[in-house]
Structures are given as structure tokens and as C-alpha cells.
């Protein structure tokens, strides 16, 4: 099915699940439903999952697209080292987090979605994928004499100094390729 990195989809699914858990939890707490402690838990769990899943991993192949403002989250998640890098840990973590959500109707949907995300992460872990932080690359030293060109050059190189460059007014088109200084191949 193509060289898919399952973790990318697992990440989208987990982020969505975090939001759904959070929303369900808020409804449960605000409506003071029976079993609202589970809803309160879901709010906390939802926020935690969102924070964990917000920074996208660097792709093994291809260009990685960052989420807006994810850099600070990347730094936080990176600091946990192997715990956040390994997808087995994430799969089991999400499976564990989702269980209490199943005890209350408002959070059941978040629970099931997070469970599915956990399964996709498990698939990613089995395939050996890992979470890598997207860090800003150090600017490679470009040629210091690179000049940004806004207008295409009017005369092809080699160009004489400006005072010698005079356009023949009567034939502007031809003047473009006319060099006042003769050029030879030698």
C-alpha cells in the first residue's frame, strides 16, 4: 500500500481523539452528568493527549510539515527521551488512557477513537518507526556573494561598467544582445 509511515495517520487520529475526549469531558462536567468524575478525568486526559500529539514527527523520507507553533511542544516532548520516542510506549499509553473514558457515555467516543489510534501506533511500532523531533536546520553557509535578482538581467554577462552601457534607442530589442566591448572565445 505504498511506503506509508503509519505513525503519521496515528498522530492525526490521536490528536482528534484527544480533542473528542476533551469535548466529551467538558460536556459531562458542565452538565453535571452522573459519573462526572470520569468526565473530569477525560478533560485532563484529553489535554494531555493533545499536548503529546501536537508536535508532528520528522518523516523518515520526504519533507515534514510542521504544525503551527509546534516548536515549544517539540522541545517538551523531546525532553522525555525514549519514553516519547518509542511508539510501543505510546501505543500502550493511549490504550491505558482511553479505558476510563469507557465508563461514561459522554467520553465513550473519545475512548474508542483513542483506542483506534493506539492500534495504529502499534502497527507503526512494529514497523520500526520512531518519533523524531523537527528542529530548525542551521542555515548552511550559502555563497556570500549571492544577490537576489528581482528583475531579469537586461544584458547578458559579460557586462561592461554602467557608464559604457548605453542602449541604442532606435533598436531596443537588438541592443539587448549588443556588447559595446567585443567578446572573443579565446
Amino acid at each position: 500500500m505504498g511506503k506509508i509511515e503509519w505513525a503519521m495517520w496515528a498522530n492525526e487520529q490521536a490528536l482528534a481523539s484527544g480533542l473528542i475526549l476533551l469535548a466529551g469531558g467538558i460536556v459531562g462536567v458542565a452538565g453535571q452528568f452522573r459519573g462526572w468524575p470520569f468526565a473530569a478525568y477525560a478533560v485532563a486526559a484529553g489535554v494531555f493527549v493533545c499536548l503529546l500529539e501536537y508536535p508532528r514527527s520528522k518523516r523518515a523520507k520526504g519533507t515534514s510539515v510542521e504544525r503551527t507553533g509546534q516548536y515549544c511542544f517539540t522541545v517538551c516532548v523531546k525532553s522525555f527521551g525514549p519514553v516519547t520516542r518509542n511508539y510501543y510506549v505510546r501505543a500502550f499509553l493511549h490504550a491505558a488512557i482511553c479505558v476510563p473514558g469507557g465508563f461514561m457515555l459522554a467520553t465513550v467516543l473519545g475512548c474508542v477513537c483513542l483506542g483506534i489510534a493506539s492500534l495504529i501506533y502499534l502497527a507503526a511500532a512494529i514497523r520500526g518507526e520512531q518519533w523524531e523531533p523537527i528542529l530548525p536546520q542551521k542555515e548552511t553557509t550559502r555563497k556570500t556573494d549571492a544577490v537576489s535578482v528581482r528583475n531579469p538581467p537586461e544584458m547578458p554577462p559579460p557586462r561592461p561598467p554602467p557608464e559604457v552601457r548605453r542602449k541604442r534607442v532606435d533598436d531596443l530589442e537588438g541592443a539587448v544582445y549588443d556588447n559595446p566591448i567585443p567578446v572573443s572565445d579565446k
Binding site: M1, G28, R56, I116, V149
Partner: protein
């Protein structure tokens, strides 16, 4: 400022009408549940009932709409029919995918509101069963229908349960969970990162929409939303009898025990039409895919471009159209879109395919691209073609002056147009409405020129022969080059033919100054509608769109058309 209305007016109008219908349905159905018939239901649920039913109506409407923009063949047919009446309306149909996504977001939004309201409904229904006090109206109402299980109001029939169990044991609850899960999986796999990188995951997961629609149709079959029957309203009028609930059914009162029934399911009436249309669409695609396609020639071009020339009985195309190609020996389920690079006047149709991923690489090998000796005709793989489908490029000949901008491989639809121009104007000497074409090709590398350079060379030669050199003005921009190449250009700058393309028209270096170009064209063609056509990256599209809008002043109108896949 430019003429925004000419470019965007119809889109905005369509969106406003759609939003307006959504708002109307929401308010109408919200109010519909505030009538007497639902009085006792509201005793249990309050306004949460209306908050659940209003988005349900909007969901019916949006689920009707969502299938329509993806019926490619239907849209292509409509486009052809409308084209004769209105070019603007036809262009609207190009934005089908955008509309599909908007409707999807609206479905997600209404689903969220609907589920939120139902969470409250379940909780209130449960409350009514748990507070088992005969002096409470909600409890009395919940007890109705316990004997015959037909005229009940509260779908939760006992207090020895909880909302989660009820959800999984009712048709509405179960189908609701299943279709919401399907919707969430569809949405997460349709995110742009996933779609652009792993189209297969997106495409296969998207087929969960079948489960979505089946579940949606059956969602209302349990008739779980119950209101007072018309007969019962005669024997128990809520405004009079609600306070006397302890005496219902007793001798001497005029308040009988109320009876309730559920509404018949309505969703199928909304979605059955589009579902049938979509099934027809898939059948059409299936039929077309079984028609025999013969590869007549395979050409390997530099810069990893494969050209396939094919024939199929009864195939008829217009300029700039695209087809979906399937190669069963490579993959049975994958269909990929490619622009046709041949002109309608030719006796074959061709596509130039860039080798970028698994499927294109496998196709290249199946066509014998990696072998050095030519392949026998019978060894070439079997192909299936769906299409051709129309895109904006069909409109090119409807403008008097046209600007064609192609970036890299994005030049392909214009290859078809230029070839067609050559056939019409130069070979047949037909009179075409289009009087002037400005063609811009932006390319990051020199090898990419080769296959297209041949076409331009022959065009150049033919035009010189017939003396119609001012019809087509083309500008090729090399946007990146290496130092060694630059040295070569410098040395050969005075040669008659361009050192890269071999054309008389010299290659230009860097990116075009669009402001200048637009201003020049505006000044040369006052009082005309200039069509601007782009096939390229979105950033270029944005800047061209901006330029089109800002240079549309006075009597010159720049109308921007973008290809999209």
C-alpha cells in the same frame, strides 16, 4: 482595485445560499419541536430535544449534498451542457472538491452539536427513570407504556441500566456510534499531509462512507424520538392536563393517559437520490474501465517522463482534459489522474507521466522502460481509462486573449492546447476566436525542456513558414541553474538559437516579473477579457490570482482559472 465580483462572485453566492439553507433548516426544525405535540417530551428533555433535532435536519441536507460534487461524470456532463450558456457557471463546477470539503466540515460540526445534545437527552431520560417518585411528572411520563411497550415516551424503559448500555442496545445509538467512528476515521485520513503522501490510505479509508450512509439511513428506524399521537392530543391536552398528571385516566377527569409514537425515519428521503446518482457514477466508471485500450507507442523522455500513446474505440476528447489511468498488472484498485497531452485532432491520445512514486515506477517497468531493446506490442500491459473529464482548459478558446502559465510538469495541459492551436490555425487555417496566446513556462531544470522543446520547435518552424509569427508569444523561464551551465549560457549568448532549447526565442533566466507582464498585456489589449490559465504550485496561483484581480481595471478583465487535481 480589480473586479473581484467577476472572479469570485458566483462562488460567494453559492456559499451564501448554502449557508442560508443550513441556517433556515436549523431554525425551522428547532422551532418545529417547540409545539404542543412535543410538550411532554420537552418536560423530560427541555430544549435539548430541539438542539438535537435541528442539526439532524442540517445533517440530512449536507449528507445529500456531499455525494454530488464527487460524481465526476455527472459534473463533466453538466459542464458541457452549461458551457454553452454561461462560462462562469461552468467554472464553478471546477471547484467541486473545495465544496465537498466544506460540506464535510459542516457535517462534522453538526455531528458534534447533535451528539452533544443527545448526551444531555440520554442523561435526562435516565434521570427520569431514576427519580422514582410518583409525585414527579417525568417519572409518571416514563412509566407510560410499560405494559404494552408501544405507547411509551421514554426510550429508557428501566432504571437498572445506564446510558452507555442503552446506547449500545438501541438501533439509533449503535448506528450513531458506528457512523461517527466512520466519519472520524474518514476525516483524519483526509488531512492534507496524509492525502498528499499516502493517497492509498486516504482513498481506501474514504470508502468507509458506504458504512456511513448505510448507518445513516437506518439511524432513525428505532423511532426513538417520540411525540404525542394526534389521537392522544384530543384526549389529553397538555396545557390543561399537565398539572393534573396524578389524575390521568381516572374516572371523572377529561385527561386520559397520553400516548406516544415515534416519527417514521426521514433520512432516506433526503439521501436516496444522491446515493443512486453515485452508484450510477461508479457504474459508469466501471463500464468505461472495461473498454479496451491499446497502447500504440511508448516513448521514454529525459527527466524521467514516460509518454504513452493510446487508442480506444469511441474516445473523444477536448483540449486540456484529463483521464484516470488504471493498470491492473500494477495495481487493481488504483486509478491515477493524468492530463492528456495530445490534441483532439490527432488519431491517438497521449499522456506524459512523470515517474515519482511506486505506481508510476511500476508502470514504467511494465512498459519496458528499463529495457534497452524495443518491446513487442503484445508485451505491453493492459490499461483501463476513465474519462476524459473536463477542466478549466477547455475554456481557452473562448477568450480572445489568453495567458497560459505552466510550471514544470504543469505545462502538460497546455501541450494539448498548443498542439490543437497548431492543427486548427496552421494546418486547417480555421478561424479561431482566440487571437493571441501568451505562453509562460517556468522550469527549474534544463532537462525538463526536451520533450516539450520538440513541440515548440515544430510550432516555431510552422509559424515562420506561414508567416503568422505574432499569434503565439512564448516565454520560457529557467528558474534555477548551476554555475557550469551559466558559463555555457554566457558563451553562447549570441547564437541564433537558444543554447538550451534550440529555439529562436531565447530562454529567460529567473522568475518572471508578473506585474510587468500583466501591465504589458493590459496595455496591448484594452477592452478585452483575458483568460489566465495556470497549472502549477499554489503559491504561484495565489500571486497570479492577486495580479489578475489588481490588473482588472477599466475595460480589461483578467479572469483567473486554476487547474486542480
Amino acid at each position: 482595485m480589480g473586479n473581484f465580483a467577476a472572479n469570485e462572485g458566483l462562488s460567494i453566492f453559492v456559499i451564501l445560499v448554502w449557508l442560508g439553507i443550513n441556517a433556515f433548516l436549523f431554525v425551522h426544525f428547532y422551532m418545529a419541536f417547540l409545539v404542543e405535540r412535543w410538550f411532554y417530551t420537552r418536560v423530560l428533555l427541555g430544549h435539548a430535544l430541539s438542539w438535537a433535532r435541528a442539526p439532524a435536519a442540517c445533517l440530512n441536507f449536507n449528507c445529500l449534498l456531499i455525494l454530488l460534487p464527487v460524481c465526476r461524470n455527472l459534473l463533466s456532463f453538466l459542464r458541457g451542457t452549461i458551457q454553452c450558456c454561461s462560462r462562469t457557471a461552468a467554472r464553478q463546477l471546477d471547484r467541486n472538491l473545495t465544496f465537498h470539503k466544506l460540506v464535510a466540515y459542516m457535517i462534522a460540526f453538526h455531528t458534534a452539536v447533535h451528539i452533544g445534545a443527545h448526551l444531555f437527552n440520554f442523561e435526562f431520560f435516565m434521570d427520569a427513570q431514576l427519580d422514582r417518585n410518583s409525585s414527579l411528572l417525568p417519572f409518571i411520563l416514563s412509566e407510560i407504556g410499560t405494559g404494552d411497550n408501544a405507547s411509551f415516551l421514554n426510550p429508557i424503559r428501566t432504571n437498572e441500566t445506564n446510558p452507555t448500555i442503552v446506547m449500545f442496545t438501541t438501533i439509533a445509538g449503535l448506528t450513531g456510534v458506528v457512523i461517527t467512528l466512520a466519519l472520524i476515521l474518514i476525516i483524519t485520513s483526509s488531512m492534507e499531509v496524509i492525502r498528499r503522501s499516502y493517497f492509498e490510505v486516504f482513498w481506501y479509508t474514504h470508502h468507509l462512507f458506504v458504512i456511513f450512509f448505510i448507518g445513516l439511513v437506518f439511524h432513525g428506524y428505532g423511532r426513538i424520538v417520540r411525540g404525542q399521537t394526534a389521537a392522544s392530543l384530543k384526549t389529553n391536552r397538555p396545557e390543561v392536563c399537565a398539572d393534573q398528571f396524578e389524575d390521568w385516566g381516572n374516572n371523572g377527569t377529561d385527561c386520559a393517559v397520553p400516548e406516544f409514537a415515534g416519527n417514521p425515519p426521514m433520512t432516506w428521503k433526503w439521501v436516496v437520490g444522491p446515493m443512486i446518482l453515485y452508484v450510477c457514477e461508479r457504474l459508469v466508471r466501471l463500464y468505461r474501465s472495461h473498454q479496451k485500450v491499446v497502447i500504440t507507442k511508448v516513448v521514454m523522455h529525459p527527466s524521467k517522463t514516460l509518454e504513452l500513446q493510446m487508442k480506444r474505440k469511441g474516445f473523444h476528447m477536448e483540449v486540456g482534459q484529463y483521464v484516470f489511468i488504471q493498470c491492473p498488472s500494477v495495481s487493481r484498485l488504483e486509478w491515477h489522474p493524468f492530463t492528456l497531452t495530445s490534441a483532439p485532432e490527432e488519431d491517438y491520445f497521449s499522456a506524459h507521466i512523470r515517474i515519482v512514486g511506486d505506481w508510476t515506477q511500476a508502470l514504467y517497468e511494465a512498459c519496458g522502460g528499463d529495457k534497452t531493446e524495443p518491446q513487442e506490442a503484445w508485451k505491453l500491459p493492459k490499461l483501463a481509462i476513465d474519462g476524459p473529464f473536463g477542466t478549466a482548459s477547455e475554456d481557452v478558446f473562448r477568450y480572445e486573449v489568453v495567458m497560459l502559465v505552466g510550471a514544470g510538469i504543469g505545462v502538460t495541459p497546455f501541450a494539448s492546447i498548443l498542439k490543437s492551436v497548431w492543427y486548427k490555425r496552421i494546418q486547417n487555417n480555421q478561424d479561431v476566436f482566440t487571437k493571441k496566446i501568451y505562453f509562460y513556462w517556468l522550469c527549474p531544470e534544463t532537462q525538463a525542456f526536451e520533450w516539450f522543446a520538440d513541440l515548440l520547435q515544430s510550432l516555431e518552424g510552422q509559424m515562420a513558414e506561414k508567416g503568422v509569427t505574432d499569434f503565439l508569444s512564448y516565454n520560457i523561464y529557467l528558474t534555477r541553474w548551476k554555475e557550469t551551465e551559466a558559463a555555457h549560457f554566457r558563451v553562447h549568448h549570441e547564437a541564433e538559437n537558444d543554447p538550451i532549447t534550440g529555439l529562436k526565442q531565447k530562454t529567460l533566466y529567473g522568475k518572471p516579473n508578473w506585474d510587468n507582464e500583466f501591465t504589458n498585456i493590459a496595455s496591448k489589449h484594452p477592452g478585452t477579457k483575458v483568460g489566465v490559465f495556470l497549472c502549477g504550485p499554489p503559491q504561484l496561483g495565489k500571486s497570479l490570482e492577486k495580479q489578475s484581480l489588481s490588473h482588472t481595471e477599466g475595460d480589461v478583465k483578467f479572469i483567473f482559472n486554476k487547474e486542480n487535481f
